[in-house]
C-alpha cells in the first residue's frame, strides 16, 4: 500500500543575482513516500503553476545521481538527510508526515545565486579548464597491458574520478573551500602514469585558479567528505597538497 505524507516547504526564492532573496512557505498534501525529492518539487511547481504563480527554479538533469547537476541544501545538509546520495536520489520516505522541510541554495561567495535555488557553478568548470590537457601518444593503438598499474592505484584513481562536481563539498565547508573537488580532479590523473606527464603543471594551475575564483582555505574539518554523495576521501586533499608543494619546490 502506498503511504502519503503532508509536508510544509520553506523554499528560498530569489528573482535574480542582484535581487534580495526571501523564504516562502508552501503546503503540499498527499506526497507519496515512494516519490523522489525532485518529483516532490515537480508537484509543488505544478501546484504553483495552477495558482498562476512562478514555479521554483532548481537545477536537475539526469535524475540518477551521475551528472552532478542537482544541488539543494535540505534541512541543514547538502543533498538532504540521506548519506552518500545526490538530491535526485533522495526519497520522500526520509521525511515524516507534517515535517517542515527547509530548502536553500548552495551558499558560497564563489557560487552566486542565479535564481531561487539555482547557483552559478561555472567556477568549477573554470578550474577544470585550468587543469589543461593530458598528453596522448599518436600512432597505433598501444597494447592495453603495456603499462602496468597497481590495482590499489587504479582503484583509488577510479574512486577520485567518481567526483561529479556537484559542489556539495563547497556548500558544506565552513570555509567555502573547494579543496575536495580540486583534489579529486588532480588525484584521479596524478595516480595514473598517463596523467603524470602534466602532473606538476596541472596541480599548480588548478590551485591558482581555485584561489583566483575566491574559494576559501581548507582547514581539514572533513565536513566535505561526510556530505560528498560520491564518498570522495579527505586523503585526496593530502595528495593535492603533496602534488602542489613538490611542484612548487621544483620551480
Amino acid at each position: 500500500m502506498e503511504n502519503t505524507i503532508n509536508i510544509t516547504l520553506k523554499v528560498w526564492r530569489q528573482n535574480g543575482p542582484k535581487e534580495k532573496g526571501r523564504f516562502e512557505t508552501y503546503k503540499l498534501a498527499n506526497v507519496s513516500t515512494d516519490s523522489s525529492f525532485l518529483e516532490m518539487l515537480d508537484m509543488i511547481n505544478e501546484q504553483l503553476v495552477n495558482e498562476n504563480k512562478e514555479p521554483v527554479a532548481f537545477d536537475h538533469d539526469c535524475r540518477e545521481g551521475i551528472c552532478g547537476m542537482c544541488s539543494l541544501y535540505i534541512n541543514g545538509r547538502p543533498h538532504g538527510p540521506d548519506d552518500d546520495v545526490t538530491t535526485c536520489q533522495l526519497h520522500m520516505r526520509k521525511f515524516k508526515d507534517g515535517q517542515t522541510i527547509t530548502i536553500e541554495p548552495w551558499r558560497s561567495a564563489a557560487f552566486p545565486v542565479i535564481k531561487d535555488l539555482i547557483v552559478d557553478r561555472r567556477a568549477f568548470d573554470k578550474i577544470i579548464a585550468a587543469g589543461g590537457y593530458v598528453s596522448v601518444n599518436t600512432g597505433g593503438v598501444p597494447d592495453a597491458n603495456a603499462i602496468a598499474i597497481p590495482k590499489v592505484d587504479a582503484d583509488e584513481a577510479m574512486d577520485s574520478a567518481s567526483c561529479i562536481g556537484c559542489g556539495a563539498c563547497v556548500a558544506a565547508c565552513k570555509n567555502g573551500s573547494a579543496m575536495l573537488f580540486v583534489s579529486a580532479k588532480v588525484s584521479h590523473l596524478a595516480l595514473l602514469p598517463q596523467g603524470r606527464v602534466e602532473g606538476a603543471r596541472r596541480a599548480k594551475a588548478m590551485v591558482a585558479k581555485m584561489d583566483e575564483l575566491g574559494f576559501g582555505n581548507c582547514t581539514n574539518t572533513g565536513a566535505c567528505e561526510v556530505e560528498c554523495p560520491k564518498n570522495i576521501s579527505l586523503s585526496n586533499i593530502a595528495r593535492l597538497n603533496r602534488e602542489f608543494l613538490s611542484a612548487k619546490l621544483q620551480d
Partner: protein
C-alpha cells in the same frame, strides 16, 4: 618556489610548519614543567630540579638563539590564522544557512580552531606576565637566591620554583591554567594531524594513525600541563 605564500596551500603550509614547531616547543616546556613534581623521585630537595632547569634555559646560548625563532613561530601562526580566517569568512559569503549545519561526524575542535586559539592566546598573555616576564627580569619580583646541583657542580640562581609554587597556590590562576590546557588539548587534537595533512603526509592508511597520534599528543600535552598545575595546588 616563487610566490608560494600567495597560494592558499602555501599559506596553509606556514600554519602547519609553525604549528608543528610550536608543538615541539610544548614538549620541551612540558618536560621542564615535569621537574616541578619530580624532586622526590630523584632524591633532590624540593625545587632543585626545576631551578636547575630554569637556570639552564636562562643561560644556555642555544636557547637564546631559538627564543626569537619561537617568538616568530607564535607570531606567524597567529597572524596567518587571522588572515586565513578572514579570507575564509569572505569565501563563505554573508548568507548563513537558515536550516543550520547538521553534518554529523565532524570534530568539534576542527570547527572551532580560531576560538580555541583565542582562548590559548589569552591564556598565553597571562602566562607570560605570571612567569616569563619575571624570570627574564622585565617585571620586578623578589627572587630569593638558592643553590642547586647543576651539571655536576653546585650553582646559584633565582628561586623560580618558589615563584611557580606561590602562583599555583591561587585557585583562580590554577582554574585559568586548567582551562587553557583543555583548550590546548582540543586545539592540538585537530591541529597535529591537520598539520601533517597540509604538508601532504597523509593517505587512507595514515589518516587513522595520525588521528590517533594527534589525540595522544593532545592528551599528553594538555593533560600534562593541567595535572602539573593541579598537583602544585593540591600537594606542594
Amino acid at each position: 618556489m616563487s610566490n608560494l605564500l600567495t597560494a592558499s596551500i602555501g599559506r596553509k603550509l606556514l600554519m602547519s610548519v609553525s604549528g608543528l614547531f610550536l608543538i615541539l616547543f610544548l614538549f620541551v616546556h612540558l618536560f621542564l614543567n615535569s621537574f616541578l613534581l619530580l624532586d622526590g623521585v630523584f632524591g633532590f630537595e624540593r625545587g632543585q630540579m626545576f631551578n636547575a632547569g630554569v637556570h639552564f634555559m636562562g643561560t644556555n646560548p642555544l636557547i637564546k638563539i631559538i627564543e626569537p625563532v619561537l617568538a616568530l613561530g607564535f607570531i606567524l601562526h597567529i597572524v596567518y590564522s587571522l588572515i586565513l580566517t578572514l579570507q575564509n569568512m569572505k569565501a563563505r559569503g554573508p548568507q548563513a544557512y537558515a536550516s543550520g549545519k547538521k553534518t554529523s561526524g565532524v570534530e568539534f575542535a576542527s570547527q572551532n580552531m580560531l576560538v580555541l586559539g583565542i582562548v590559548i592566546a589569552s591564556f598565553l598573555a597571562v602566562h607570560i606576565i605570571n612567569f616569563y616576564m619575571k624570570m627574564k627580569g622585565f617585571i620586578a619580583w623578589e627572587a630569593g637566591e638558592v643553590e642547586f646541583p647543576f651539571l655536576g657542580n653546585m650553582a646559584k640562581g633565582e628561586d623560580a620554583y618558589s615563584l611557580v609554587n606561590a602562583t599555583f597556590k591561587i585557585l583562580p590562576i590554577v582554574i585559568l591554567y586548567v582551562v587553557g590546557s583543555v583548550a590546548l588539548a582540543f586545539h592540538l587534537s585537530h591541529g597535529f594531524w591537520s598539520g601533517f595533512q597540509t604538508i601532504g603526509w597523509n593517505n587512507t592508511k595514515w589518516m587513522p594513525r595520525l588521528k590517533c597520534i594527534s589525540n595522544i599528543v593532545a592528551i599528553v600535552l594538555g593533560g600534562g600541563f593541567a595535572v602539573i598545575a593541579l598537583a602544585q595546588y593540591l600537594f606542594f
